[in-house]
């Protein structure tokens, strides 16, 4: 059973990656609302305010200033209102210690940032078409 993803939040301090992601996302499905946050603190502030609609999926970069992705993930999973939002870690690093930690703290998957735009489009399409983000969810958000 697939559930339509309407809103995605990308937390990434890298402006280029934000832009590429936005373009790839609109190429995949231009009806999806794309939201951006630029570090962990920024993401938590936006998630806890009414500034943006609650996302159906969060892409979370690992290496970021102010608050990194792993700490942000911990905060999200601690929050009663946010804990059910599926989080995909999204990083250039495939360092196994990070990935292990991310899964321990409840990330749904760990995606290494593709080094090619075409691959990025494919990856995003795959994620949007899979059941994966919602397998642990009982109710659509």
């Amino acid at each position: 059973m697939t559930h339509k993803i309407k809103t995605i939040l990308l937390v990434d301090d890298d402006q280029d990656d934000q832009m590429l992601f936005r373009e790839a996302l609109s190429e995949a499905d231009n009806s999806i609302v794309y939201q951006a946050a630029f570090n962990g603190i920024d993401a938590l502030e936006k998630l806890n305010s009414s500034e943006i609609p609650t996302p159906d999926l969060i892409f979370l970069d690992v290496n970021m200033p102010k608050m990194n992705g792993i700490d942000c993930l911990k905060e999200i999973k601690k929050s009663r209102t946010l804990e059910n939002i599926p989080v995909l870690m999204y990083s250039t690093s495939s360092f196994s210690e990070y990935t292990k930690e991310c899964f321990e703290y409840g990330a749904l998957d760990y995606i290494v940032k593709p080094d090619d735009y075409a691959k990025l489009c494919t990856t995003i399409k795959q994620i949007l078409n899979s059941d994966l983000p919602f397998t642990t969810q009982n109710t659509p958000l």
Binding site: L20, T92, S93, D115, D116, Y117, A118
Partner: protein
């Protein structure tokens, strides 16, 4: 020198004569007090003393001598004409005398006794000297030992501090190279992504621009590979616990990674059974990946690559060591029929960034063999190569079966 103590001069003269006939040197004192004065000044080896004397008697003199450190070992023979009773004789021994002789005296027996006591005294002195020497020697050794221990302790402490410093430096360096490699990769990834976007979206109609961009893409890819290899190299320094490793399994995996290239180059690869060793699987995989990869990479144009991996147990950590089924080292040889290299460059091939070959003909970052060497060294092993230009290369690895 013998001291004769007697208040009667005639006795002294008589005794002196007897002793001097036998070449025994004598001195004389006419009273106890006189005797003590003389003993203070001169070292006598025997005292023959009358018992009854005006003033201080012989027993008293003997008792004083027994109390002095320097004098307590001088043998005293009492010689008496009057006090012959048992109680005097007992007193004589009690006061420290070695003998008690009563008159009349047989001169021959007296000389025998005197000589015996002189000899005993001499021997005692010798023993004492040896004992003194020994205790001095012990003292010196003890001191040296203590000094040594102190020095060792100081050195150990210094070394521990140095070691800690080195570990910290090493860690910092690792961290540094990791961060550098990582941060270098980030902008490069962007260059690769955007240049490919430009290529795919805007340059389809312009062959010249396409060529330039392709060259840029290739250069970026090469740099990416270089950074990946550097990252790998810097990561090798971290400490990992060795585990039971099946090298056959690792080689099978490595070969399957090269499936495509093997097929493309129509290569044949033969592998002998290799024993299990204690090692770090991921590093050993990297080692064989680099060696087999090199053999495939540096193949001769138009010749099907033939790679042979052989293994044998040897006794010692030496490339020339004799084969032994009970040996504790494993000698693995990766042999190919590739382009080979001049052995005068042997010392260079294992050094980072020392690629011997023309980069246009053979791609390589010059890190592969440096990584291989570092991995082998991390496993307390050795690596070398034999090669001949145009004939092929053999890379020989010596790995211990267990890590202590």
């Amino acid at each position: 020198m013998i001291l004769i103590v007697d208040d009667i001069k005639a006795n002294i003269v008589a005794l002196k004569k007897i002793l001097e006939i036998h070449n025994l040197e004598c001195d004389a004192a006419s009273s106890g007090e006189d005797a003590l004065k003389k003993i203070l000044k001169t070292d006598y080896s025997l005292i023959i003393m009358d018992v009854q004397m005006p003033g201080m008697d012989g027993f008293e003199v003997a008792e004083i001598l027994a109390g002095g450190n320097r004098t307590k070992d001088i043998p005293v023979i009492f010689l008496s004409a009057i006090n012959k009773e048992k109680k005097y004789i007992s007193r004589g021994y009690e006061s420290g005398g070695v003998d008690y002789i009563t008159k009349p005296v047989d001169p021959d027996l007296l000389i025998l006794k005197v000589k015996t006591f002189l000899k005993l005294y001499e021997q005692q002195n010798e023993l004492k000297n040896i004992r003194d020497l020994l205790s001095k020697e012990i003292e010196i050794r003890k001191e040296a030992q203590e000094n040594l221990e102190l020095k060792v302790m100081e050195r150990t402490k210094e070394l521990l501090v140095k070691n800690e410093e080195l570990e910290l430096r090493n860690h910092e360096l690792q961290q540094f190279s990791w961060v550098v490699s990582h941060d270098l990769k980030e902008p490069l990834r962007k260059i690769e992504i955007f240049i490919k976007l430009i290529k795919d979206n805007y340059l389809k109609e312009d062959p010249k621009a396409l060529d330039y961009v392709n060259r840029t893409v290739n250069a970026a890819a090469r740099m990416n590979k270089l950074i990946t290899d550097l990252l790998e190299y810097s990561r090798l320094s971290s400490n990992v616990v060795p585990e039971d490793t099946d090298l056959n399994l690792i080689l099978t995996e490595v070969l399957s990674d090269f499936d495509h290239l093997t097929e493309e180059k129509n290569a044949s690869i033969k592998i002998e059974t290799i024993p299990r060793i204690k090692g770090i699987p991921s590093q050993l995989r990297q080692l064989f990946q680099n060696l087999v990869g090199n053999s495939l990479k540096f193949s001769k144009a138009g010749v099907n690559p033939e790679i042979e991996i052989t293994s044998e147990l040897v006794e010692e950590k030496d490339f020339g060591s004799t084969v032994s089924t009970t040996g504790n080292f494993c000698r693995i040889t990766v042999k190919d029929n590739g382009i080979g290299f001049d052995e005068k460059y042997l010392s260079k091939v294992f050094i980072i960034f020392q690629s011997l070959n023309d980069r246009n003909a053979y791609e390589g970052t010059g890190i592969g063999l440096a990584i291989a060497k570092k991995i082998v060294e991390k496993h307390n092993g050795l690596i070398t190569a034999k090669s001949q230009v145009g004939v092929g290369s053999s890379f020989i690895i010596l790995l211990p079966l267990s890590q202590n």
